[in-house]
Amino acid sequence: MTRLLAISKKVALELFRDQRTLALMLLAPLVVITLMYFIFDVNNDMDVRIGMPDTIDEQFIESMPDEVEVVTYALKPTLSTLLDNDDLDAFIDVNDNEFVVTYHNEDPSQTTAAKQMIQATVQNVTRDSANEMFESMPGDATMPNMDITENYLYGDEDSTFFDKMFPILMGFFVFFFVFLISGMALLKERTMGTMERMLATSVKRSEVVLGYMGGYGGYAIIQTVIIVLYSIYLLNMTIEGSMVWVFVISILLAMGALVIGMFISTFANTEFQMVQFIPLIIVPQIFFSGIIPLDNISDWIAVIGYVFPLSYAGEALTEVMIKGHGFAHIWQELLVLVGFIVLFTLLDIFGLRKYRKV
């Protein structure tokens, strides 16, 4: 136990002295999360610019949502020039009681937003016309109430795409930095000869692996605390569930990243080779983490997601942070994460046989 603690302390002290790596581990996630917060928040409230002839019904223009900037034209210009030069997302013309909409479509997400807003406007106008029709009818004919009351099972009307991404993003940063830094640290131990020196004492191979887990575990907790507090107090993110479970999931994920990083480092001889594993180990995890909807992909590809710990951590963090659930809803994910840790810890201990067979 003393030796295990000595290794944990050494790992923690080394990282503490390496200020640049420490800053990268603790501050880089905040910079990227902030950038993504603003990028995805803006995209959610897209401003749309729509052009139309000035002969169009005034009521139609007034029914447009607030996010739409309407530009009217006295003469119908050449559409391609207009859409390009005036930075319009769509141009609406009326032909024989039919709306003819031409979309710029350089950015499909802007087109989708423009489409939704035009459809909503058409529905509003149609409803208002129906109202007028009912009012002009004799007797007690009344227009049924068309107002929509919107309720949300999770989150509220202000929920953005970033809200969905945030739990997964947090897990991703915990995984990425712990994986990379621990893998590099182990590689350095091997290339500098310190691993050999450690194992030239009576220290157990398991003590080396567990000592590393202890040392990095502390930083994983600090990293998670910083990300969570920053997101709550500066980005105004809401965490519906218990913070305890957020930390439990993050620490298990960090431990998983650590033992996988240590395992992968045994296949690399230089730091450059270690970096080459990122496209293979890290990038696919982003695809299967839940950030990208995978409802329609083939089953056989979806199966790949089961081999990545970030899929389980992302799912569990979403359950806690967005849905406010607790242990009853995340125990399976936690179990799988523990399974990953146990499996790769054993593989790491076995891998150190390269330096000492017993």
Binding site: A6, E14, E196, R197, M198, A200, K357
Partner: protein, 240 residues
């Protein structure tokens, strides 16, 4: 009284199809300094790594204190210094010593005493709180040696211990190594420096993975009609 503390018996080692050790039989005694000398690539480092069980033998056995190696608990009786300095550059000399001392199960006053004693031995007491990355190459080697000697190991195995160390300090280190020998420790040292080889009690001449000759420096000089071990070594290269 000298006793056999370690041995390699009929040891063969292959790296894939390349044989790097061929039928090595070597006995190591306490109170004795054994020098392994030979040209680069002759198998000196592989030989000591196999002796310690850090490298698996293809054939044959390695024993330390009658225990078949590798044996984890026996490692605590060994002080090993490889060719790399193997230090944590972002830690101080004292922190490096403390860490490896704890791995050797030293603690409390015993640990403090061992650190002080060995830092003094390699003349690094004044630099104990200095970060290792600020050390010169020679200082790193000395610190590495100090770590090796922590815990008073019974067998001390040093792979090129005095590379990069100035002649004055080298002399002082050899004096300490002789003191260790006199206190009944067994030392195995690989070296390229022939003048150092002459300070060993026994020498094993290793050529192409085989022990070409073995004996005291005096015996070998007589046998090869040479005035120094360097001459023995040169004659050996001519004849092989």
């Amino acid at each position: 009284m000298t006793e056999k503390v370690a041995s390699l018996v009929d040891a063969d080692k292959f790296f894939f199809f390349k044989q790097v050790l061929n039928n090595i039989n070597l006995d190591i005694y306490n109170g004795e300094i054994l020098g392994l000398i030979g040209p680069s690539g002759s198998g000196k480092t592989t030989c000591i790594r196999c002796l310690l069980g850090m490298e698996e033998l293809t054939e044959g056995q390695s024993y330390i204190f009658e225990q078949k190696m590798p044996h984890r608990k026996t490692m605590n009786k060994i002080g090993y210094m490889g060719q790399e300095t193997a230090l944590y550059e972002s830690l101080t000399a004292h922190e490096n010593m403390t860490f490896f001392g704890k791995l050797k199960k030293l603690k409390g006053e015993e640990l403090t005493h061992e650190i002080d004693k060995n830092l003094e031995l390699v003349d690094l007491s004044g630099a104990r709180n200095k970060i290792v990355s600020q050390f010169s190459g020679g200082m790193k080697r000395r610190l590495s040696l100090a770590i090796t000697l922590l815990g008073q190991p019974d067998i001390i195995v040093l792979d090129e211990p005095t590379v990069g160390i100035d002649p004055k300090l080298r002399r002082s280190i050899w004096e300490q190594l002789r003191n260790l020998r006199d206190s009944d420790k067994a030392l195995v040292i690989t070296t390229h420096v022939m003048a150092e080889a002459e300070q060993c009690d026994k020498i094993a001449l290793l050529v192409s993975g085989e022990i070409h000759d073995y004996g005291t420096p005096k015996d070998l000089m007589n046998k090869y009609e040479a005035a120094s071990i360097e001459e023995v070594f040169l004659n050996l290269e001519v004849t092989t």
